[in-house]
Structures are given as structure tokens and as C-alpha cells.
């Protein structure tokens, strides 16, 4: 996200102003090297750094190992009430609108899988507030690697895989109950939906966190989103009013996490197919917005604790 601004002007050897020590061999090679590598080289470098950072993080995490099984139990417990609610409603009313219990489970499962992309790899985004307030965000700006990658590289939450597993299980059960046969096209679209959905969750959380660059407080905003997530996770968007549907489709496109994918994959009449296929577009738009906000945020950054 931070791009490689000013690559070309990087480190001309001559700038060392007669400091012999500066022009040591390794340094000179690097200064030349970066210029020839160009954009692709920069991307590869950032990617390599992200992997290295994750390795470091894992080393650190092993010191406080969270129990995988306990986390799995927690995930089941946390989602238990919602699952019970879905089953009771389906049992009493046979369906919610034209959504049967299988369809509702697909809705729920898709959401959890998209969410788990955030919770495994990008959980650190929800810590931006703390990092900014404590001033430890400064450190990211002192190293020649994208601050965004340094931030997200600082945490990996393998217990988030419990979300993925539970989501996948619910999805499998739901699909079987709904009795849908998948072709190769469905599988490809499924992959696209999950990736776009994951991107949307990450970007929204990221944008909320970026609010702290301006206000230094943002936690309550995220709880409002939690509530919206709760609604779209359990219920098909069509039961809500028009304004809400426009909100979750066009403004904060969270309906692309599960509703539109489910409509497409289950062949529901709730929305036209082209609208469902806009999922990657929504994701891309949010990525662009995030990049802009991030740049603005860094410009506006008031380092704390000083």
C-alpha cells in the first residue's frame, strides 16, 4: 500500500558526501540494484519482508501458545445462540421468506469464512488505535518497509482457523440441505466471492481503524459495525427495507460477504446475477479508498506519547 515512492532517486552513491565508510561494497551494490529492479522488484521485496515478519511473529507467539481446542469450543459457543435461533425459526416457520434452513446456514457459513480471513491474518488492524495512542506506531515509520505490512505482519492468529472450520462445516451442511449441485463455474465464483469478501472485511476494519489517525478513538464505531455484521450474517438482506439494502450494497458493501454470494451460488431470485458478480468491484473500490485514507492518515498522523 505504501508503494515504492521515489524509488528512482534512492541512494545515489554520490550522496554519501565523501564518507568513505558509507560507500562500503554491499551498500553500493544495493544502491544500484534497487534502481534496476523497478516496480516488480519492490513488490517482491515487500512480499518477502511480509513473510519474514510473519516468521518472527510466529516465533514470538509460540511463547504464549493458545490452546487450539479451547478456541474451537469458544467459537462453537459464541455462534451457538445464533445457530439455535436459525434452527428454531426454520423449525417454526419452515423458512425465512424464501430462505430455507439450508440457505440460512450457507449465508452464515460464508460470512464466517470471509471473517476468518480477517481474524487469521489481519487481526492487528484492530490494534491501530492502541499503537497510535501509545506512540508505538512510530516504529513502523522508521523502517524502510511498508508500515502497513509491518503492522499486519505483527500478528498471526492461528486460532482464527476455528472460524474457518466452523464456517466451512456450516456451509457444507447448508449446501447439502439446500441440495445444490455445483459446476466448475460455481467453484471458481466461490473462490472469487471468498477473496472479495475477505478483502471487504479487512478494508472496512482498516478504514474504521484509520479513523483514529484523526480522532485517536474509534472503538465504538467498530461495535456499530459488529451489529450490522450480526444482522447480515443471520438474515438475508431482502427482509430489510430498501434503505438498509442500499446501505449494505452500495455504501458499506457488507452484503457482498455472504448475501450476494449465497444468492448466486444457490440460484435465488433475490437479486440479479450481475449485481452478485460486482463483488470484486466492491472489494477493489474499498481497497482504493483504503489506500487513499491511509495516505491521508499518515500525513495527519500525530505521534502519541511525546
Amino acid at each position: 500500500m505504501d508503494g515504492g515512492k521515489g524509488k528512482g532517486k534512492c541512494m545515489d552513491g554520490e550522496k554519501g558526501k565523501g564518507n568513505a565508510w558509507m560507500r562500503s561494497k554491499g551498500r553500493g551494490k544495493y544502491a544500484d540494484g534497487i534502481r534496476r529492479e523497478g516496480d516488480m522488484g519492490e513488490v517482491r521485496f515487500q512480499a518477502r519482508m511480509y513473510v519474514s515478519l510473519l516468521k518472527m511473529t510466529m516465533k514470538g507467539i509460540l511463547e504464549y501458545r493458545a490452546d487450539f481446542w479451547i478456541s474451537l469450543v469458544s467459537v462453537v459457543l459464541l455462534n451457538g445462540a445464533n445457530i439455535v435461533q436459525i434452527s428454531v425459526i426454520s423449525w417454526r416457520f419452515h423458512a425465512l421468506g424464501n430462505w430455507g434452513v439450508g440457505d440460512l446456514l450457507v449465508l452464515y457459513g460464508m460470512f464466517m469464512i470471509c471473517w476468518s480471513i480477517f481474524s487469521v491474518f489481519f487481526r492487528k488492524l484492530s490494534k491501530i488505535e492502541d499503537e497510535i495512542v501509545s506512540g508505538s506506531f512510530d516504529i513502523y515509520l522508521l523502517r524502510p518497509v511498508s508500515p502497513f505490512l509491518q503492522l499486519v505482519g505483527g500478528d498471526i492468529n492461528y486460532t482464527g482457523l476455528c472460524d474457518t472450520m466452523m464456517g466451512a462445516a456450516l456451509l457444507a451442511v447448508g449446501l447439502r440441505m439446500a441440495g445444490v449441485q455445483w459446476g466448475i463455474g460455481h467453484i471458481l465464483w466461490f473462490a472469487v466471492f471468498i477473496l472479495s469478501g475477505g478483502t471487504i472485511v479487512v478494508c472496512i476494519r482498516f478504514l474504521i481503524s484509520c479513523v483514529t489517525f484523526w480522532t485517536t478513538r474509534g472503538s465504538a464505531l467498530s461495535s456499530v459495525f459488529t451489529q450490522i455484521y450480526l444482522l447480515i450474517q443471520k438474515y438475508p438482506v431482502t427482509i430489510f427495507g430498501r434503505a438498509f439494502r442500499v446501505l449494505v450494497t452500495g455504501i458499506v458493501p457488507v452484503a457482498y460477504l455472504n448475501f450476494y454470494p449465497a444468492v448466486y451460488l444457490l440460484g435465488k431470485p433475490d437479486a440479479p446475477a450481475w449485481l452478485c458478480m460486482l463483488s470484486p468491484v466492491a472489494a477493489l473500490a474499498l481497497v482504493c479508498l483504503s489506500a487513499i485514507v491511509w495516505r491521508g492518515g499518515l500525513r495527519h498522523y500525530h505521534s502519541g506519547g511525546g
Binding site: 451457538g80 445462540a81 425465512l96 461495535s223 450480526l230
Partner: protein
């Protein structure tokens, strides 16, 4: 009473300091209210007979449940007894609570009551007003209903507090109560009538629920508010709530005394 006032003021000040947060909390409730409102409308459109209540009463029930959730939310508050005790045990500061002359259970009750009253006035009430004006919520069925509803909320709060306090004491047995807390909130959500009205459950489940205290927290006050209970039933409901509140409170007291003695023997 003075302690109550000071906690109330603290809460007030915090809300004043983080006003944006405060408004967002209200927003949070309104979205949830809008959600359940839409859900029940959709189900009602589908089959009015299966809901078992007229639509306005059902919508009112569901939305009020979500609004009351702000004061009854089991695990969000730092000052909630289970969170407070867990925190004190983990950091080893529980000793200081033992040394204080005041009774811990009572103190926590006062503090939580202050927080709850504050939330009631500044969050639940506005949410309720907005619900009445914009989301089609009904007013209480009459003066007697309103009074009974107020009493029922207080008793429901006491039941919830006593349960939370007991949950907190589990810390002394297992140290880490996070998983138990999750299970507990799950059970509470399902059996208290908050998410799904109990009359929609299968018969056998309703029978189980009738034996448990959880329905005193949400179902009772909400049923009283929506006016589905006759006056005899209201009195019986209040008595039941009173019974559970008293029993659980005393149980908590007993358990705390046991813990107190145990810790004294252990030397803190």
C-alpha cells in the same frame, strides 16, 4: 446511597468525555432494533398465525428486548461482577477486597445498579422513544402495566446480577472463566427470551425453561409490558422473579462467605 451517587456521576462524566462513543452506542441499539423489527415483520407476512402474537405486540417485544440488552448485557462491562472478580483474582488484588470492611457483593450491586440506571436513562430511554416514534413500538398496556414493568425490570436486574456474581465466584475454582462465560452468555441469550420468545420453542424446551431462572430476566418484564398477562399472572410473575432474586442473591452470599473463609485459611 452516597456510593451509588458517586458511581452514577463517574458514569456520567465518562459519557460526557466520549460523547461520540455514547451516540454510537445508541446507534448500535437502534440498528439491532431495526433488525429484529424487520425480522418479525417478514415472519409475520409469511404466516401471521405462527408468530402467536399480533404484529405490534411481537415487534414491541423484540425491540424492547434489544433495547434492554444495553443494561442486561452480561459480559460487556468491566464493572460487571464476573468480570470484576475475574480481574481481581487474576491480578491478585482480591486480597484488598477481603480486607475492606464493606461487603463485596453489596458494593458491586450498588456500582452495577448505578451504571444500569445511567444506561437506562440515557440509552434505553432514548432508544425506546425513537422506537415508539419511528419503528412502530407500542406504549405499555396501562398504568398498572407500567408500574409492574418497572418493578419487573428491577427484579430482573437483581436476578441477572446474582447469577453474574455466582459466575464470578467460579473463578476461585477454575481461575479462567472465559469459556464458561461464553457458554453462560449463550445459554442466557437462548433461554432468557431475548433472542427468541420462549413460546416459539418446542414444548419440552418450554417446560425446561419454566424451571430455570433465566426467563425472569427478559421474558417476564417484556410480557408485562406488552400486556399479554392478566393481573393474576402479573402478580405471580413478579413473585417468581422475587423468589429467584432472593434465592440467588442469598446463594451468592453464602458462596462468597465460603470463599472468604477459604481464603482466610489459605492466608490470602
Amino acid at each position: 446511597m452516597r456510593v451509588f451517587g458517586s458511581w452514577f456521576k463517574t458514569e456520567m462524566r465518562a459519557a460526557g468525555l466520549y460523547r461520540a462513543d455514547f451516540l454510537l452506542r445508541l446507534c448500535y441499539s437502534l440498528i439491532a432494533m431495526y433488525g429484529v423489527c424487520s425480522l418479525w415483520r417478514a415472519l409475520y407476512r409469511q404466516d401471521p398465525g405462527l408468530v402467536g402474537r399480533p404484529l405490534p405486540a411481537m415487534v414491541t417485544y423484540a425491540m424492547l428486548a434489544v433495547a434492554l440488552d444495553i443494561i442486561f448485557y452480561p459480559s460487556a462491562l468491566k464493572s460487571a461482577p464476573q468480570n470484576y472478580i475475574a480481574d481481581q483474582v487474576r491480578t491478585g488484588r482480591i486480597d484488598t477486597d477481603l480486607l475492606r470492611p464493606r461487603d463485596l457483593q453489596f458494593q458491586l450491586l450498588v456500582r452495577n445498579a448505578a451504571v444500569a440506571l445511567f444506561s437506562l436513562l440515557w440509552l434505553v430511554l432514548p432508544a425506546w422513544l425513537l422506537g415508539v416514534f419511528f419503528l412502530g413500538m407500542e406504549l405499555p398496556a396501562g398504568v398498572i402495566c407500567t408500574a409492574a414493568f418497572a418493578a419487573s425490570i428491577v427484579l430482573g436486574f437483581l436476578v441477572l446480577f446474582s447469577l453474574n456474581f455466582l459466575l464470578g465466584l467460579v473463578c476461585f475454582v477454575t481461575l479462567d472463566i472465559r469459556q464458561i462465560t461464553m457458554a453462560y452468555s449463550g445459554i442466557l441469550t437462548i433461554l432468557s427470551g431475548k433472542l427468541i420468545p420462549n413460546w416459539l420453542y418446542p414444548e419440552w424446551m418450554q417446560a425446561v425453561i419454566r424451571l430455570l431462572p433465566f426467563r425472569c430476566i427478559f421474558e417476564m418484564p417484556l410480557n408485562i409490558y406488552t400486556g399479554v398477562l392478566e393481573s393474576g399472572e402479573i402478580v405471580r410473575g413478579l413473585l417468581l422473579q422475587g423468589f429467584w432474586a432472593l434465592a440467588l442473591f442469598c446463594l451468592g452470599r453464602l458462596a462468597w462467605r465460603k470463599v472468604h473463609k477459604y481464603l482466610a485459611v489459605q492466608g490470602g
